[in-house]
Amino acid sequence: MRSKWWSAVALLVATALLVFVWWSRPQRVERTALLMDTPVRVVVYASRGRAEEAADRALELVARLDALWSPGRTDSDVARVNAAAGAAPVSVAPETLELASLALQVARESGGAFDPTIGPLAAAWGFGEGGRVPDDAARTAARALVNWRDLKVDEGAGTLFLARPGMQVDFGAVAKGYAARLVREQLEADGVQAALVQLGGSIALYGDKPGGGPWQIAVQHPRNPQGYLATLSLQGGFVDTAGDYQRYFEQDGVRYHHILNPATGFPATGMASVTVVAPRGEWADAYATAAFVLGMEEGYRFLVDHGVEGLLVSDSGEVRMTPGMDALAEVTPGDWPE
């Protein structure tokens, strides 16, 4: 009789153990939202319960950052800094302060090819409201208001200050990458097993993808919306693409895209897309834009000098990769229209 009891207990324990193992296996939770003016997607792998909570918290963080950085909201840090341009320093959230410092650093490194004070030019071109080609006077006036040296960060006081009236900060080419990093850090702290965070053209990867193998990130073909230019096999880190196809308008048969060259006041010429793989999200984002503006030769050297991997495509379809990118990317250039 005794032995029967024991086997019954053993069976129960074994069953309970199995149920527990099954229950606590990693779960895949996906959340999407429209935030920071772009589709946001968070994929989390973690144990049941934890995954859902972590994914929700991730979107909450993006929403909070959106509230800080959205130029459209009058109470956002960015809107308040712009409104007080030439008048007074504005105290902002620590994240905004950090974002401005990071942006200025890349502006310095790129010799102004990337400029976080591009706001007046972007407004003159009307991206966000359909777009229009500004006349020479308007363009020249706007360009005169673009200069990253006039954005003052006071770490001690916690303030941002635009030195001249009419200036506007525009963190559009660095905010999503930085946000991706902050979300990734939060997910890491929340103890998830693996995660993919995508804010438009910025992606953060964390952990080993369950099921094995590297993360597969496809890069859209600049001239074929249905096709892939390349597929990247990544173990983690950050990846970002700046492309002339992402936001543009046509006027008199000419296509004008949204990546403006601060030096000319016109959309940057020569490139179709630049994809950057970097150990930090803000670098991937801002470097991609900087390299796009710098063009094939200078952009390539800029990426190599800064120790990040890049996949550069000119607007005639020429593809160039940094030495390390060769091992990560499988390129399928396909047909390139004349």
């Binding site: 199995l18 099954w22 296996r25 990693p26 997607r41 994929v43 993919l196 995508q198 438009g200 053209g201 992606i203 993808k209 099921g211 094995g212 193998g213 993360w215 597969q216 990130i217 496809a218 890069v219 859209q220 892939y228 597929t231 990846v239 970002d240 693409t241 492309g243 992402q246 994809t275």
Partner: protein, 318 residues
């Protein structure tokens, strides 16, 4: 074997019996080679020859069982020309473990011939698989464990029931009156009439349950769910080629000392022909689901279907 049997001539009798059982085992092994396997999984066999081993175990104890198995196994390997080849070690590891398991389990008072046979089948697969993983240098072969655990017990039960029925007849005819030391199950008179007992089913059920756990547990940790897109062919542990299943084709493989032809058609892959002695790889037939495997032990070739990376990229940068 014969423990203090006082009767004169019993050793001659026993020698004759063992010789006969070995011959029966040999014939069954050769007959089995002509039969299609019970399921298209590498390593699954009917195990008919095991009936002779089982009978010897029942009539003469572990020693007799070993002799009948070892002599038969050795002779079959000599006949098929695979003596001391990879198949020899794989089959040997399986057979040895099966014999040991049956010898141990036959001491159980609850198990009948069917249960002992099922245990033998399960351990045969365990030993065979472990040895196959070593010989082919492809640890992925261990993924065959769930299907083998699933298929082993039913086939083993069948053989065991067969042996149980024959033993019952023999006993009824008085032919077993002079047998020597025997495991409990062959002499129990009480329910000796039952060819299958609850404990037999419990043992087989346990193995099947374990198999199910492994099968359903697999998606947690194994790659290759999703749609099958490729077949990876490894020879002696190194990848020979990765075949695209969307592209029909015929690929001759030339492993050391042999020749086999792999064919891809309609999203499935098979070994069309092989000059290996056991033909297990050919008999496995077409495979097409991620995780499916064809193993050719003599030539150390493993073909495994792998899933695509769940059909597409994890994200698209637009």
């Amino acid at each position: 074997m014969s423990r203090g049997n006082p009767r004169v001539g019993s050793s001659v009798r026993e020698l004759t019996r063992l010789g006969l059982l070995t011959a029966v085992g040999l014939v069954l092994a050769l007959v089995e080679r002509q039969l299609p396997p019970p399921a298209p999984v590498p390593g699954v066999r009917w195990g008919l020859a095991n009936a002779a081993t089982l009978a010897a175990l029942a009539l003469g104890g572990p020693g007799a069982g070993f002799v009948v198995w070892a002599v038969r196994f050795f002779l079959v390997q000599v006949f098929s020309g695979s003596l001391f080849g990879p198949a020899f070690f794989v089959g040997g590891a399986g057979g040895l473990l099966a014999w040991a398991a049956m010898a141990v389990f036959s001491h159980s008072r609850r198990l009948g011939a069917a249960g002992v046979s099922a245990a033998g089948a399960v351990f045969h697969h365990l030993g065979q698989l472990a040895a196959a993983a070593v010989v082919t240098a492809a640890p992925g072969v261990l993924w065959l464990l769930p299907p083998l655990l699933l298929l082993g017990p039913p086939v083993g039960l069948l053989t065991g029931i067969l042996v149980g029925m024959i033993l019952r007849r023999l006993r009824a005819a008085g032919a077993l009156a002079d047998t020597g030391a025997q495991p409990g199950w062959s002499v129990r008179q009480g329910d000796g009439g039952r060819v299958i007992r609850p404990a037999d089913l419990l043992l087989a059920g346990g193995s099947v349950a374990l198999a199910l756990v492994l099968v359903f547990g697999r998606p947690w940790w194994a790659a290759g769910t999703g749609t099958a897109t490729q077949a990876v062919v490894t020879v002696a542990g190194s990848t020979w080629r990765t075949l695209d299943l969307r592209q029909d084709g015929v690929y001759p493989v030339e492993p050391a000392g042999g020749h086999l032809v792999v064919e891809v058609a309609g999203g499935a892959v098979r070994v069309r022909e092989s000059d290996c002695p056991d033909q297990i790889c050919v008999l496995t037939g077409w495979i097409s689901a991620p995780g499916d495997m064809i193993v050719c032990v003599p030539y150390r070739v493993v073909i495994q279907v792998v899933g695509g990376t769940t059909g597409g990229p994890d994200a698209i940068l637009r």
